[in-house]
């Protein structure tokens, strides 16, 4: 069976925001890593979770499904998902799947953090 090829890192910026750095691939096997990282990112009460995709190598349609699950979880906990570092290709995927209407996309971390203030 294929293995997860994702590494995550969580940075607590302040009491309101956390950045979740994603490196590698988001596919069906990334579920545990992604959900665990999200739990860590919100454990100190952060309301804004900023997904850093700048080191994303690949995402398939199962990965999009995971992001939707993450988004639902965030909405239910009154948290907001933001994103930055998406390549032009993955910006188009967000547009295709209309995830861009639910996850605000920014060009860089500074802009995403400013939106989270």
């Amino acid at each position: 069976m294929a293995q997860a090829n994702i590494r995550t890192n969580v940075r607590q910026i302040d009491g309101k925001a956390s950045v979740l750095d994603i490196q590698g691939e988001i596919n069906a096997f990334a579920e545990n890593a992604l959900m665990d990282a999200y739990t860590k990112a919100t454990s100190h009460g952060a309301r804004y979770i900023i997904l850093n995709f700048s080191q994303l190598e690949y995402m398939n349609s199962s990965g999009i499904g995971l992001l939707v699950t993450l988004l639902i979880r965030a909405n239910r906990q009154n948290q907001r998902l933001l994103a930055y570092g998406l390549s032009e290709h993955y910006r188009q995927i967000f547009e295709l799947t209309r995830l861009n209407e639910a996850i605000a996309i920014y060009d860089n971390e500074e802009e995403a953090l400013a939106a989270a203030k």
């Binding site: 069976m1 294929a2 069906a28 690949y58 398939n60 349609s61 199962s62 999009i64 499904g65 939707v68 699950t69 988004l71 639902i72 909405n75 239910r76 032009e88 290709h89 188009q92 995927i93 547009e95 295709l96 799947t97 209309r98 995830l99 209407e101 639910a102």
Partner: protein, 258 residues
């Protein structure tokens, strides 16, 4: 002379498995007999744009005893997608194969296999292939379809080859949601995909047992999307079928064009 306009970069390798975004769906090259309603000109619904509760369902069948790789299964599945559907349901696509960006028209039997007189399907809707590679492919649906969401069809190695369908969907509008709450729509969908996997396995000589897991991802309904009922494909197809005699009379009354 070189153009100063930068050329768009075409996705390469694995990235080419994704379709390009479209603002509206366009149906082309359908075979005769297809009822082409509720697809052309429609927008895809996102996973966030349905009305009902969000469900994740996984159906899987183990290809026990078949000497077949996941890639071979997906290759066969993509080439013969509609062939594995339960009787009375039809998949019409111009290319006849699952490729990224392909828009297909679906003519479906109603809940519990109900059809119109003459065995005609009672729901015309569609899908767009948003992703397709050697190991999986995914669809999204337009407004009016029973479900807003995404279906992913995949195959993988897990002590043998396993074929899987995973749906992540909300009922599109209040009418479909009532059908879901009554269990009719869910049962119809469950039976549909279980039969599809059984037929797929049978194509490889396997008598498959389909396992299903279901989880409720979001129990809330989204009242802001109740307006989707305007696009309801079942209602619109029903009106189209009821008006068939009128169209027949109108065509008779028209003078023949040379």
């Amino acid at each position: 002379m070189e153009s100063s306009n930068p050329q768009p970069v075409e996705p390469q390798g694995r990235d080419a498995a994704w379709a390009k975004p479209v603002s509206k769906l366009k149906v082309t090259g359908l075979s005769a007999g297809a009822i082409n309603l509720n697809v052309d000109g429609r927008q895809l619904t996102g996973l966030m744009h349905g009305f009902g509760q969000l469900w994740q369902k996984t159906y899987k069948v183990r290809m026990s005893g078949a000497n077949v790789t996941p890639k071979e299964v997906i290759q066969t599945w993509k080439k013969n997608f509609g062939k594995f559907w339960p009787k009375g349901n039809y998949f019409y696509s111009a290319l006849g194969e699952i490729v990224p960006g392909e828009v297909a028209v679906l003519n479906l039997a109603g809940p519990l296999g109900i059809t119109a007189p003459g065995g005609r399907p009672v729901i015309s809707t569609g899908i767009m292939v948003i992703y397709a590679d050697d190991e999986s492919f995914s669809f999204m649906t337009p407004y009016g379809h029973m479900f807003a969401g995404m279906n992913t069809f995949s195959c993988y190695e897990d002590g043998g080859t396993v074929a899987q369908i995973q749906v992540l969907v909300r009922a599109s509008d209040p009418l479909y949601e009532i059908g879901c709450r009554l269990g009719i729509v869910h049962k119809t969908e469950d039976d549909f995909w279980k039969q599809t996997l059984t037929n797929l396995a049978a194509d490889f000589g396997v008598e498959g047992y389909v396992q299903q897991t279901t989880s409720l991802v979001d129990p809330k309904v989204q009242w802001s999307e109740a307006k989707n009922i305007w696009h309801n494909a079942a209602v619109r197809t029903g009106i189209y079928l009821l008006a068939s005699p009128l169209r027949w009379i109108r065509n008779l009354a028209r003078p023949n064009k040379a």
